[in-house]
Symmetry: none
Subunit: 422 residues, 2 copies
């Protein structure tokens, strides 16, 4: 199945928006054994959209358009696709009512004209419900049934759920995968070392394609082969599990936070965080996962020094003698947090995210991470490269990996390394 | 000047890499009055690269390729462009020495073959020095001089400086800007209403192009016109400022957090947050901006009910009688936070992010946001649509907008509405 993506929106070509939709769609398709053959990014111009969709259909079985379904004058995907597919637009009363209801629930003033535009649907098209916005997606087959144009809205929080929950299952029903894939998520091992160890573990195995993706919290190893080689892929995955041992997430663990949560829930333990330079990012990452309320008690973002003292009991003498960014302060943040709240597991982080605040002895990127599991305490130091955002992201990722490893060691497993993957 | 971008790399089409290069290039060009007419993203395949570059040259004056200049077997941009431009590759000794020197300084083992590949240059091409990697960029005019292909490496830290420092000045020397632009960021007004009001404010003004981009915290309005209409653009921008009043960010305010920060700093006030369902996301958003330590004291993530009581003094009777998600709890969180820490401004948020925890009376998406500025207190209720991530994102966005509006009102300005933009 040949798939082409067409991302529509002047904002993509003026740099006001980074195209994350392509990556989300491509990754989801890749995970199911399909490939995006090509992506084209074009402005909100009727003629350009029309010509690009037409050219796409000449080369691909499925064209997915993203964007241009909004209510404003520069949203032109609907009429362009209608023209290319020779499928005139008509008013769909059910879609109209859905949008009306959606806006009413949000107390947004109804603008009749805008509603009407978004309820225009090409002949033969079926609507894909948008739970996070007004414009429905549209699944529109060509007159001969040989091609499909799928139109989806551009805002990522609308596009993402619609693509993953509705479009992907429909595409999978159209044609079998082009390749079979297996994946393993490795935590705390740098990408180049992961590659070296994969090569070693799979020496002598042929006919598999290996790919690597360095993420903030892990390196993803992906194996692919033709669909008839599923057994060889399973054997290779087992070999990699043996190679990486505790550094590989278990099959049921989608993420480092899930791995942490499983270990905490199993013992009825609670987790808390104390954050300075990460500013709430660790708590945010933990609570982003549904079910985290079962083990996450809360967090203190002690951005100002007086908060470190008032909220966590860090001694002013410690701050004066060693500075807010020091192993001593990290340790007192951790001790104060665990002592005052009675949690069994905790993370405390202090560092210099930049661009300001650095000194010759304490450069941007210097971060101390204290990890507590019951009576055990560790303070780790890292010097992260990159700008403010990168340093914060790495500190969040590394501290979560360190906690996961500490919990795993307290299970009696062999310790794993902790280097952020990216 | 018509510019087309061609991004080359299978990793972009499997979702392993988000294409940030396009946004960087497009934003820089846009800022100088040029436009990327179209972008195409293709895999590392010789034939596809060749055909896409050829098609690009048929439509554009300048084709910028990004990626495929590395030393490995899947880096094929050089030979593809050489073929299309009929400009045979030859070995360039100066480039070879530069790469050799670059690797030697970094103690990277020299791989002679890889060096040789990267020192191959099409006839007529001039090299663009790569200060952050080995592959030079290549500026290659067509034989008749009417077109240019610019080849740049894909890794963002190599691509970015080369594009901004070397390629952009050369492009600006080729042709004057195509358009003049002005922009306005509107906060707390839905996109369709923004358009309606823009149309009203600019009724009778012709020759301007309007574009809209809905972001999490704002709607961006962009006006463009031919370069000789700069005065008309300035007048239109003034008209929009008058129309939106306090809902428009000031010229010097890049974001809602910047707007909050400016108002707090001006008075020497401090801000704190108390978060339940947003789990630290508000503090994270505030501290993502450099300089936030000048006004942000800290935050309490009181995810568990016992933390709401212990850290913020929310009364157990309030939790029992009204529930954790209630205006009463939001108000006590705010009062406890401000009373205990002495900050002048604060946000407290409690809600149901889902998927669990909902009841018929309290559905997923119900969020209470309490805003405090000195003695003034407000509790706002919203019913956000969408999944866990969307509800959390909207609660973060809306509460920041509400705080900004409250600070603005305390300036004496007319109140602005608060609906998240998207």
């Amino acid at each position: 199945m040949r798939i082409q993506a067409i991302c529509i929106g002047t904002e993509l070509l003026t740099g006001h928006t980074v195209n994350t939709n392509l990556a989300l769609m491509a990754e989801a398709l890749d995970g199911c054994g399909y490939t995006v053959a090509c992506e084209v990014c074009i402005p909100d111009e009727l003629g350009v959209i029309r010509d690009t969709v037409r050219a796409g259909l000449a080369q691909a079985d499925v064209v997915v358009t993203v964007g241009g379904l909004g209510p404003t004058c520069d949203d032109l995907t609907r009429p362009a696709v209608a023209e290319v597919l020779d499928a005139p637009l008509h008013f769909d009363a059910a879609i109209y009512r859905h949008i009306e209801e959606y806006l009413r629930r949000r107390n947004v003033p109804l603008r009749c004209e805008a509603l009407h535009v978004q309820a225009q649907v090409p002949e033969r098209a079926t609507a894909i419900v948008n739970r996070n916005g007004t414009a429905p997606g549209l699944w529109c087959p060509s007159a001969d049934g040989g091609h499909v144009v799928v139109m989806l809205p551009g805002p990522p929080r609308e596009f993402g759920p619609m693509f993953l929950d509705d479009v992907l299952p429909r595409l999978r029903a159209l044609a079998p995968p082009d390749v079979a894939r297996r994946g393993l998520r490795v935590v705390g091992v740098p990408e180049s070392i992961v590659e070296e160890r994969v090569d070693r573990a799979l020496a002598g195995v042929s006919g598999l394609t290996k790919a690597y993706c360095a993420r903030p919290l892990s390196v993803d190893v992906r194996l692919s082969a033709s669909p008839d080689r599923a057994a060889a892929l399973d054997a290779a995955l087992e070999a990699l599990r043996a190679e990486f041992g505790p550094a590989a997430l278990d099959a049921g663990e989608a993420s480092v936070v899930a791995s942490i949560g499983r270990r905490l829930r199993g013992r009825g333990w609670r987790l808390a965080t104390a954050e300075s330079c990460t500013g709430g990012g660790i708590a945010e990452a933990i609570t982003a996962e549904a079910g985290s309320s079962e083990f996450f008690a809360g967090g203190i973002v002690c951005y100002a020094n007086d908060w470190k003292t008032a909220q966590l009991g860090v001694r002013p003498q410690t701050l004066a003698a060693h500075g807010a960014v020091s192993p001593e302060t990290a340790r007192e943040m951790l001790d104060g947090l665990m002592g005052r709240t009675g949690v069994e597991a905790a993370i405390a982080v202090t560092g210099i995210a930049g661009p300001g605040g650095a000194t010759p002895e304490k450069p941007v990127g210097l971060v101390y991470m204290a990890i507590g599991v019951r009576d055990r305490r560790e303070v780790h130091c890292r010097q992260f490269p990159g700008n403010r955002g990168t340093v914060r992201d790495r500190a969040v990722a590394t501290s979560l990996i360190l906690l996961r490893n500490a919990l795993q060691e307290s299970d009696g497993a062999e310790p794993a390394a902790a280097t952020p993957a990216g």
